[in-house]
């Protein structure tokens, strides 16, 4: 027989259980807007029944209800999916961010971009070609060239600044990962203690899940949970390698102080600096990665996505962009310099007195590695000082004028009269005839070779040709006085011919034509005959023909090259935008799935609350009823009135 008070006990259990259930509901409602909270469910369990013999057989009576456990409504499969997609989303968000910033730097298409500056640059050379003597046209070319050089400098600086900021983003990410790893390991300790005591530390589990979610922004992570008895072991892995294993954790390292050096492999930049595994906290902890092994280089299941990888890829992209700008700056500088060197300036001097138009602001050879061509491009100081030194004229534009051609040897001068429009060959021929056997000459193209002529000073003005029979090697470029075929008469050298001498041929001021400036303006449409030298980090100061076999880049024209560069950035940007949008949709959908399982629905909680409340009220009624019954028993029975 059960005790008289058996029914009261049942009601008391029910009251306690319903109260606990209302408490759980209250906890759920309180956390209704906490995104990382997992809805808790009170699990009612019927109490162990009471069995007693009665009337020859056993009777089993229920003992009411207990809360067996309070568990979290959580789907581990959706969690894993969410974290995978979340790391991809972070990756593409970073890519999108980087490409947006890059597009901000290139600022195309606009009226203040490199393309517009280049258009004006070429156009100004063309204007100079029409007005070679005009100092305003010269100053315009000079100033526009400064603008162009500064534009390259500025772009390069902006790219470097952006690189620095992504470097620090990577190192911030790495320290976040390390901090999260430590927090997870500490939570593991607390959770294990609670589990050993037999309880469900739901809120601690929530905090751990939230931390792993956070971690999935930085890297793709996988979670392995094993149960040994009541206690579970919790592992978090990146790229197959343990980051956290129970109470122990590994750390990552990134050293932004080291230059983010880029090596070039197959035409693509490869970062030398990667995020690597650092030390382990205890030797008995998680499986030890080899120190300095790149994170995620293992089985490829992680480390290839996430914001840190996104930022590392941004660094690679920026390095590639920097190189392209370096190439372009050097390509333009080399091309302009070469054409410029073929021309003559307002003083009749060749190629700005043999100086380059563009130079690089590099103070010492040790700095070559850190200063690219784009960062250091500048207009030659002597041209900045005097725009008349721009070699706009084509030496072939000169004309022999009427006057006297003379051959001076020592103090003796021989002369012949020259009429306008004569060719160099006829002038030389006349001189040669006047002084038989004085010298022999050959003319080939724009070059004239007199005896075994040598240059004595800087490239000569075309009027004056010095020669010396002692030298046997040099060809002289007589700046372009077009010789007429056929070849001159067979030379006859008198015994004891002149050792040295100077031939002067009257010619008009050739520096007034702008044909060479036009040649520079024509570079806009391509420079296939020209080739360039150098590697991106080591701009080679143009040193003439020796460097021409190794082009910086090949393209139909500089605008073609630039157009391809910009459209490449555009394609990347478009891809990043699309991928980011796709990932966002996926993550939103997974997040909804997760919320669908784990989220708090106020309607549901209210319904539950009413259920529990009514059950509580009913249980209380049972107590009242039992009280009535006991009252009947105690006060109504066995009393004689």
């Amino acid at each position: 027989m059960p005790s008289t008070f058996f029914g009261l006990q049942i009601a008391a259990n029910a009251l306690a259980a319903q109260q606990a259930a209302v408490d759980v509901t209250g906890h759920n409602i309180a956390n209704a807007s906490n995104a990382s909270y997992t809805r808790e469910v009170p699990n009612f369990v019927a109490a162990t029944p009471y069995t007693f013999p009665s009337a020859g057989h056993y009777l089993t009576l229920g003992e009411g209800v207990n809360i067996g456990s309070v568990t979290r409504a959580r789907d581990a499969f959706v969690d894993a999916q969410y974290r995978n997609q979340n790391s991809l989303l972070s990756y593409w968000t970073q890519q999108q961010d980087g490409l947006n910033k890059i597009q901000g730097i290139v600022n195309e298409p606009s009226d203040s971009s490199l393309a517009s500056t280049l258009n004006t640059f070429w156009s100004d050379w063309s204007t100079l070609a029409n007005n070679a003597q005009n100092s305003a046209a010269r100053t315009t070319v000079q100033q526009q060239s400064v603008t162009l050089a500064e534009m390259f400098n500025q772009m390069s600086t902006q790219i470097s600044t952006l690189q620095t900021s992504y470097e620090s983003a990577v190192s911030t990410g790495v320290s976040q990962v390390n901090s999260i790893a430590e927090q997870i390991s500490q939570l593991n300790i607390q959770i294990n203690k609670a589990e050993a005591g037999g309880s469900n530390p739901n809120d601690l589990l929530d905090r751990r899940d939230a931390l792993v979610d956070q971690l999935s922004q930085y890297y793709q992570v996988s979670v392995v949970q094993t149960k040994q008895g009541a206690v579970s072991n919790y592992e978090v892995k990146i790229g197959g390698q343990d980051l956290v294993n129970g109470a122990n954790y590994n750390t990552l390292a990134f050293n932004p102080a080291a230059n983010v050096d880029v090596s070039w492999s197959g035409g693509k930049p490869v970062l030398a600096q990667d995020v690597t595994w650092a030390t382990v906290t205890t030797p008995s902890g998680p499986a030890q990665p080899s120190v300095n092994a790149a994170v995620g280089s293992g089985d490829g299941s992680g480390g290839d996505t996430g914001s840190i990888k996104g930022n590392l890829d941004n660094l690679t992209k920026l390095a590639g962009l920097q190189k392209k700008y370096d190439d372009m700056a050097q390509g333009i500088a080399d091309a302009v310099n070469q054409v410029q060197n073929q021309g003559i300036d307002m003083y009749g001097q060749a190629g700005g007195s043999g100086q380059s138009f563009f130079t690089y602001n590099i103070s010492a050879s040790s700095q070559y590695a850190s200063q690219g061509a784009a960062a250091s491009l500048q207009v030659n100081g002597s041209i900045l000082h005097d725009p008349n030194k721009i070699a706009a004229a084509d030496p072939a534009g000169g004309e022999i004028t009427a006057g006297t051609a003379s051959l001076q040897v020592g103090t003796t001068t021989y002369s012949v009269n020259v009429t306008a429009g004569e060719t160099l060959a006829s002038v030389l021929n006349a001189l040669q005839k006047q002084i038989p056997g004085a010298f022999k000459y050959t003319i080939s193209g724009n070059q004239v070779k007199i005896d075994n002529t040598t240059n004595t000073t800087t490239p000569p003005s075309p009027q004056s040709i010095s020669f010396s029979t002692t030298d046997t090697s040099n060809l002289w470029q007589i700046a372009g006085l077009e010789p007429a075929p056929p070849a001159p008469p067979a030379p006859s050298v008198a015994p004891g011919g002149f050792a040295t001498g100077t031939i002067t041929v009257p010619s008009s001021d050739i520096q007034s034509n702008g044909a060479n400036a036009q040649s520079i303006a024509d570079l806009q449409n391509g420079w296939s005959p020209l080739q360039f030298a150098g590697t991106p980090s080591q701009p080679v100061l143009p040193a003439g023909a020796g460097n021409l076999s190794n082009p910086v880049f090949t393209a139909v024209s500089v605008s073609d090259y630039y157009g391809a560069l910009i459209s490449g950035i555009g394609v990347d940007g478009q891809q990043a935008n699309n991928m980011q949008a796709n990932q966002q949709t996926l993550v939103d959908s997974l997040s909804n799935q997760r919320q669908s399982v784990s989220g708090v629905s106020l309607d549901q909680e209210m319904t539950n609350m009413i259920t529990y409340q009514k059950s509580y009220t009913a249980a209380a009624r049972v107590v009242t009823m039992m009280d009535d019954m006991l009252n009947t028993l105690v006060t109504g029975m066995g009393i004689t009135r």
Binding site: E399, D509, S512, Q524, D572, N592
Partner: protein, 290 residues
Amino acid sequence: MRITNIMMGQNLLSNLEAVQTTIQKYQNQLASGKKINQPADDPVGTQLTLGLKGALSDNSQWQGNASQGLSVLQTTNATLQNMMGMLQRARTLAVEVNNGTFTPADRATTADEVQQIQQEVGSLANTQVGDMYIFSGTSSSQPWQGAANWTGNAGLVNIAVGKGEQIPINADFTGLFQGTGSIFNVLSGFVSDLKSNNLSGLQNDLQNIDNQVQSFTAKEAELGALTDRVQTVQNNLQQSSTNLNQNLSTVQDADVATVITHLTNAQNVYQAALSVGARYIQPSLADYMK
């Protein structure tokens, strides 16, 4: 599917963000008037835009060159015509002085006038457009320095009017101004014949002046042809500039009507989303419980 409160909030928020992104895109297009505001908007279009802008910049430079060339050619034509007028006057004088009634004194007086004509032709021959002496070839110094002293050359000044296409904007004037057959020599000879009263010489001078008239006419015809050519090129350039501008506009300009329609649509969606959100986010069972 079980719907929870946070879900509803998240969904509403991401939908609102999506609509706002669209609105911002169209607002950008309207504000800039361009449908390509950064390379990612349309990579191919961006490359096209860069190419077209380059071509337009070339084109406007060539047009500028051509009009500069035209002004030089027109000035040259006008100056040559002035010189022709003076030659005609000299010819009239040459005919007159060959008249037997002219006294040596008359001829000496005429000599002064012819000298004056030579002076004027010379100063016309020094005409400049900008810094350029239009008759001196590629020489930059003043070509006529008095009497028969001519320092100009036969060089042609070329202007670029297309990719690799150059047109000279002057001609070889050395035949007119330089050497024994030059106008200055002819007029000098005329003057000295007048002064020395050399009648047979004066006959010759008339012939020489006639020859000069012919040379000048021939030069004028040459320059006229050149002017036509530059003008044709300029017209072509204008035409192609119009085409290029049209192409550029097709590639990069936003169609305002379309964009405004899209924008209005997006704004309607945004407002609908807001009002729906405000209605279904708010209530729960709690509102109806006592």
